[in-house]
Amino acid sequence: MDPAEFGEEVSSRPAEESAPEGAWPAALDRSAAGEEAEETPSIADGVERRVARESIGLDRLGGWITLAVLSLGGGVFVAIYLATGAWDPLWAGILGSAWLLLTLPGLWFAHVWPAVNWRHLSFRADERGIEIRRGILWRRVITVPRSRVQHTDVSQGPLQRRFDLATLIIHTAGTDHATVELPGLSHATALRLRDHLISGGLDDAV
């Protein structure tokens, strides 16, 4: 598998978001590459990657479906009200503009938000474990050491299967972050990440 297939590298990142120099020591990255640089390149190369670009399409699809259901429902409600014939213009105006006010931002959320979200979701795997970076306004970077992974799931919904995408779910013994999810991965990448994480790190050695 070509490393490029794991996902796009996050090359440019606005200055305010960039991690400090040396946040992930270069020495660790090199040792990782040295140990596993056989025929298959390791995903644990310390490179920060975005999830699959196809996930934007999936999220948009989901958004469109939700929006269609909600706004059609609302539209039907408004239409029934108008069809009764006994409507007064004030209420018709209020209902109509409420419907527009819900639908127009809904359009934005369904179409633009997934792309913004995708730009703000990335992961980085190395010998120590995995780092997941997410959130647009409230941003969170979480690191799960490999030696703390209790077990992992790779789950695929029906829509995800169509897009060949998967969600990686990491279970830890923690409390607030007992499960850490990374959605939008290509299925192959999710499997690679899973194999990397459950190969256990220290547990084999002890």
Binding site: E16, A19, P20, A23, W24, P25, L28, E127, R128, G129, E131, L137, W138, R139, R140, V141, I142, T143, V144, P145, R146, S147, R148, T172, A173, G174, T175, D176, H177, V180, G201, L202, D203, V206
Partner: protein, 509 residues
Amino acid sequence: MPYDEPIASPAFEPRRTAIDGAQRLHPFSLLFSIGRAARNLLIPGLFVLFAADDNRYELFLMVLFVPATVRAMFKFLTFRYRFGETELIVTEGLIFRNERHVPYLRIQNIDWSQNVLHRVLGVANVRVETAGGSEPEAELQVLSVGAAEEMRGRVFEEKRRARGDEAVPAPQPAEERDELARLTLGELLLLGLLSNRGIALVAAGLGIGWEMGLFDPRQSEEWTGPVGAFLDRVPETWPWRLALLIAALLVFLLFVRMLSVVWTALQFWDFRLWRSEGGLRVESGLLTRHTSTIPFARVQQVTQIETWVQRLIGRRGLRVVTAGGDADNDEQSRRRWLLPLGERDLIDSLAGLAQPETSGTIAWQPVEPRAFLRLLRRAAILGLLILVIPALIWSRWWLVGAALVLPWAWLDAKLRVRRLGWAITGRGLHVRSGVWTHRVSAVRFNKIQTVQCETSPFDRRFGMATLAVDIAGSGNSDHRLRVPFLDATLAEMLRDRLTTEAAKTRFRW
């Protein structure tokens, strides 16, 4: 062990698990199972009795005990436990048979509790706990005290053998173990006087009283008896009324303190902390005596708590977080005290004993001093919304409130920021926080599960971030490991450092 039995053995054959040193519960189990059912039925039963005012309902209620009794009989007759080579084996059930294997290595705790009746009858309720989940892995209700002691001895001995350190000497009987600390009667009274448990009880009492209509104005309009006679004699003038009010307040406060003392005495009577094999052992309680063991390896976090009154008299409390168990359980929360009140030096040394990796002097690192302005601004904006807008709408008096709140917010922000701190020593992370009640916690690197950096839009404006460390069982903790207002670069570096340290170690339950 009947592992080599043919698989095709018919299900109705005599149970093989019933032999080979399998042991039953104590016959008094029946009594306690039925007693527990009775307690569950008590409240609805009383309601029915009071509502119906007819004796036939009593007989009718007895029917409800039949299933409970039958279930208790079945449980007693089918329940067996035995000590396997590497695991404790508990079998239960007649129709749906359940055989549970609990490896000795996984057993975190063997707790026993004895209420008054248990103690009179010489039995104990034993809970075998592993790290996962909130339910005990096996609850043996009830064993004789001897069997309970044997259980504890066997399990810890087998555990040691399974781990392979034969060299460690067998645990001494409880009496000969070294006692680390105990709560003297004076300290117990002090703890009760300083705690605010009483007010919670009063609030609960008021709630029940309200429900029962005690405060119905039609009923309480006239005071009768000696109190009423006394009140009638008090002149209805200002100074007298004030004096009466103050006296009533004092009596109320005294009453609340008394309740606190009683409550505390029930919980912490004769509180003792022992050193036991590979861990600590805590005993406490007046009516229900509770004993639990806390292996050192299971300690996830150690927290020192010091309210401002305790600080004045140079004392504080010490708690530990262990994995497993849920936060709502009162028994659990009581058991997490290593010592509810003790002199500062004693608490310090006990904290070091419970978690030697994090002991020693701590060089506290401050958070960003600019956080003070953020907190003050937040308080000012909130104060503006809550006080100034009503002032514009209703009365100018609200502005006086605003004038009083701002200095308070200033002081609180100043103290809060000064108190926040973190430190890394040896093999652990330390976090402290709190203005009036000081909390100081320490966690070992090998107990850190995940590390997270969080930045809100406000954080980014000030170049700050929050560092949060997740551990097992922190649902029980009353001090989360979070350091807000860190410089963003520093927070990232800390996240990296802690991740590396955690990744280097192996987590064992």
